[in-house]
Symmetry: C4
């Protein structure tokens, strides 16, 4: 029995190559892993290219809308705002510019973009709100004001007649310059025709545009925040394009299957290892009346298997999300890309394990393993000093420099 246990132990700590030599055990698990690396990586690349199309569509539209609605926009944002305005005349100009451009949007833009509608097909209105401090009693001495709590008034109007507002609501635009901010909100809808070319169904987008105009000092910053929400297009009929998404769905299915197999195989290995450990410790206890020390117990628990299982689970969740996105049921590309990206990262890190089977690499890996905690400890000490320095630097130098 002792002989049998020794054999099993020896076999357990062998590399796949040695296992093959010893018991002609074909390394299935390793084959599955290698196939998985290839499949997960290709899946990631396919999804990444798709994702890039979507992101670039959003970014280009953001840039286009900024160029359409912001007067004197230079093509790049400064720090955190888009355009800065210093004089009252410039402020009125940029305000009316937004309204004019909005009212003639359909003759302006080169892209397929139009006013958004509500469920009844009525155009959604443009809403303009201003916040300002109310003067209390204006006393004769010029520097003494009562500044009241801030007020907010709004007005909303039909997009087509936006340029009439100026004359109709002249009192609204008679701004008192203890103004806090003025905010214009409207909504546009667009369609991404790019995806039609890659033979997929197009996404439709709703743009929520906020023209914020904060005035704290003599420098009035203009922000244009654009939020793009994608959704499946309801009323579009695309003819003349074939849909090849079926092949992709089948491929995703295969990836899920492969990951499941890999996870099951690794779970089995862990269970076998635990059983072997139990046998070994029982034997140890019976023969030498001693417990197996903790370090030796830890040798049985293979960290790599845990890594593989975690990566498999992430890949399965990511693949399911990807299939849902392709079927136009979901549109949150970001969550899916985090799952797929992390699983691919772990899968590639796992390759180091196979390098460890080569004698020469093993030395390297063990050295790195041993040096790791020391490096971490040094980083911890340096981190303390750095933290103090950061606080000190932020408060003393921060406001003047970047």
């Amino acid at each position: 029995k002792e002989e049998h246990l020794r054999d099993d132990l020896k076999y357990y700590f062998m590399s796949p190559c040695e296992k093959y030599r010893a018991r002609r055990h074909v390394p299935w698990k390793m084959g599955v892993q290698i196939l998985k690396i290839i499949m997960v990586t290709s899946q990631l690349i396919i999804f990444g290219l798709n994702n890039q199309l979507v992101v670039s569509y959003k970014e280009e539209n953001t840039m286009a809308l900024k160029n359409l609605f912001l007067k004197d926009y230079k093509g790049v944002d400064e720090d955190d705002y888009s355009v800065a305005v210093y004089t009252k005349r410039d402020f009125y100009d940029s305000l009316f510019y937004v309204m004019n451009q909005y009212s003639q949007l359909d003759q302006l833009s080169v892209g397929p973009i139009s006013y958004a509608e509500d469920e009844n097909g009525k155009l959604l209105p443009l809403i303009m709100c201003k916040k300002y401090y109310k003067r209390g009693s204006v006393e004769p001495s010029e520097e003494a004001y009562n500044i009241d709590a801030q007020l907010e008034t709004c007005m909303s109007h039909d997009p087509k007649t936006a340029n009439l507002w100026r004359t109709e609501n002249s009192s609204f635009f008679d701004l008192d310059f203890y103004l806090v901010d003025i905010k214009i909100t409207f909504q546009l809808s667009g369609i991404n025709l790019q995806t039609v070319r890659s033979r997929e169904l197009p996404d439709c987008y709703a743009f929520f545009i906020t023209f914020d105009n904060q005035c704290h000092s003599g420098k009035m910053k203009i922000f244009l925040d654009i939020e793009a929400q994608s959704s499946a297009c309801r009323d579009w009929k695309i003819s003349g394009t074939q849909k090849n998404t079926h092949y992709l769905l089948v491929f995703d299915g295969f990836v899920i299957l492969m990951c499941l197999t890999s996870a099951v195989l690794c779970t089995r290995s862990i269970i076998l290892a635990v059983r072997l450990l139990q046998r070994f410790s029982r034997f140890f206890h019976e023969n030498f009346n001693r417990k197996v020390c903790e370090d030796d117990q830890r040798e049985f628990l293979n960290g790599w298997y845990l890594l593989v299982i975690v990566s498999d689970l992430l890949a399965i969740i990511g693949s399911i999300l990807k299939m849902e996105i392709q079927a136009k049921n979901l549109t949150n590309y970001d969550v899916c890309s985090i799952f797929l990206g992390t699983s691919t990262l772990l899968v590639w890190v796992g390759v180091i394990r196979y390098l460890g089977y080569f004698q020469k690499y093993n030395v390297l890996i063990l050295t790195m393993k041993a040096a790791f905690p020391k490096v971490l400890r040094f980083c911890c000490c340096a981190g303390m000093i750095y933290l103090g320095y950061t606080f000190c630097g932020w408060i003393v130098l921060g406001p003047y420099h970047e």
Copy 2:
């Protein structure tokens, strides 16, 4: 008696953890320190955010004033000047531009800014001075001049009629171009309404603006120096906002209390250590008739305590300054931020001491301590060569490169 001294010595060099195990001594001092770290850091963050508001207000107003008063200002300063002018026509244009903009300031700026007044409520004048070389006798040969000592003439005028100057004082503007410089000085006052929103009393600012126009070569550099002085607003009544500065004052009081406690505890520890050292050296002298060597004496003096006391004193001074600033008695944020920042830096560096109680970190810290003088010595040698190189590089390459 010897036994007693040995016990005290052993106890003195224990870590808080060991002290607790030995005599059930609860580590009050360590608790105070940890609480202090949290409080000092939060105080710093609150003050830093406040400080940033003030600094950004000053910076944005500087930018706004530059855009208002400088013709063809591109939004960023070059090297050390704001705008450069090369022709006489451009020079006159930018000079009259300042005066025009100044005379119509109240219709221009989007921010709450106005002409400054003296104590009697009279508007302060704009002052324009020019320095130039007087020609001696203009001889017929064209290249031979007498260049006299430089003269200076000034004129001052009411802001409202600044644009009349041009016609009234045409002889002043008939500039001889052996001009040295021309300087325009005026003063504006503003109010920071931002702080009203964070429910604090607003600061008022006085802007001292100097438009300097130095002409040494064919390139005339235009400088706009803006000095912003903040002061409590005298004649403003803010209604509708609550003042939550009381809570902050209480918090600052707690910080001062905590720092006092910490400083007192550390002073007590130092006194105890000195007494122990005296007992020990007396014992040593009596029994072995030898002096305690200097290295051993130094072991008794704990550098960390000094660090903590210094940091406490800085924090107390900083907190008092902060309270004064909040009560609008002081406005020098910079001095206060240096005190608070330095104390926070020292407090965080002090955390390394507690890391030294862990065996593994201690090795690291001792190694760094030992390596420090060698590194310093190397830097000293390299510094000499670098100093020589700097002088040589500055003189040979300096004027042509940056």
Copy 3:
């Protein structure tokens, strides 16, 4: 016989200096190598200067054509496109701008550039194509379209009357903005007069210009792809300049001769080494009845000789290509520069061998040799992690950052 073999072996592993001392053997091979370094390097420099003229001509013409044909071109390309257009009006303007500029090209450009001709001397036409989605049945509900497969229509016209197109084909320019892209293609020819100054025959160039106008989103990107093909000028008679290409051809011939000599000498050395190895292993087998181990065998094979032979072959091919280019039979400078550049790189790396003859350098070189595989192995491990990180970073952060 054994004595003789020992002598030969000792002599084989000597450095040239020791060989000279031992048998008065003048180091011909080393002399040839040193001469070769000088010649190959000078040849490379001559070719490189020539190549730079050609490349800078192409680049400057590209820049000139972009400035001529692109409206509002700022002098640098953004990311991957030249100019971006956001409104329909800007789009039409930049389209008609190309056509106008093209029709009056001969009065515009400062360089010797003209319309390209076909074999019969007829001017080649400008071709304009547009791709767009066809609308299906326009239903009353505004958001429901049938988007058909994309169509393509083209028109071509004589360059001289390009500005008439606009009025004649107004229906073509009545663009439906489910446009995919519009492409304008034309061809120009130029002559590089710069090479005339360096007393060589001028090259003629054909420019294939594509004005691509992709519209996927609200941002229409304009590309101007210019492909410059150089060819010998057919119909030019250059008088008053001497051609000094003969001297260069003779120099190239000498380089080829030198490289051939070097290659032959190295091949001879390898053959001699192999024979010596055979003698040695036979002797070893006869006397000790053992095989020479593999490491010892490898000592006989001198890697440097292989390096020299490879570099010689590359230099010979490169020189032949260079001669063909100078004789105007070939124009692919890039292939030639790769051959010449690689051979020069190898020749200079080969100098390290001669440094190895000095005792002190030899230690250094052997150390580097020994450390090399360890460094490589570490890079391999780090590479795995980096690969995973790259994939993960590309998918998660990639689309939003650069």
Copy 4:
């Protein structure tokens, strides 16, 4: 006698501190060195500030002249040229712009700049030259030209009537666009009034301006080369400023004296060392009948003394040049700054010697001395590979990238 020699040897290898303790020898030499460091450094700083004034005057005038004479100049040069022109119309515009601006120079520039005169007080003319290829016989087939050797024609004219040229010499401006280049040359004179303020005599400058217009491809590059030559002002009488150059001349004299003393002291030390070596080797030869080995001989030769002497000589030459510059006999600041800069570099490097007298620093310096040749050798090997790589990279990638 042996005892005496041993004493002298011991004393020779002592540090100044030990010498003082041994024979009460006050370290004069060291005092002189320390004083020299201070004086040489202050001299360098004074000269450097002065030099910077001169260089910034030149640079600012260069910038001013570029802005005056170049049409559409953007304030910074691209690569190697100032402005690029692509169309014939732009070319004529920028050509006539130079002539117009030149003819009205005295009403334009804000700086004291005027037309240069020859000895007789006559204004120097503007000279314009063009180089072009002559067409041979223009054959009917359009693409076949005879391109003749290049010709050159020039014209020169009075500055005041430069704008008349255009109408008078219309045939000159009827440019054939196989033009090689066109060159405009004129000369201006200016005075640096800045130095008047620092109470020194002003320098006068002559500007030689070349407007070069090379046309190799469709991109015509415009260069404006400005050469500024400074000279003493002949016909200027500066009154009302005191000249404080006397003090500076006295200070420079002191520096020269100090450096002479230092050089003489070091030469004496070297002579004493050589004599001691001779005594020692004679003694060694007589008593042990052996020669002193080379390493021991080298110990006697103190490299630091050589360094000090070289630095002293450089400082003396530099100081003499500086005095000449201050007396307005010389104007080449660059040569003087190289001498002064190098001497200061060496003087500061010499400080390391005094650090070597401290035990702990000495270890460091000896270690660095020992490691130096190994580092150099490694650099040599790496240099070979880098050289090959540079050649290869330049030829293969060079023309396309930077």
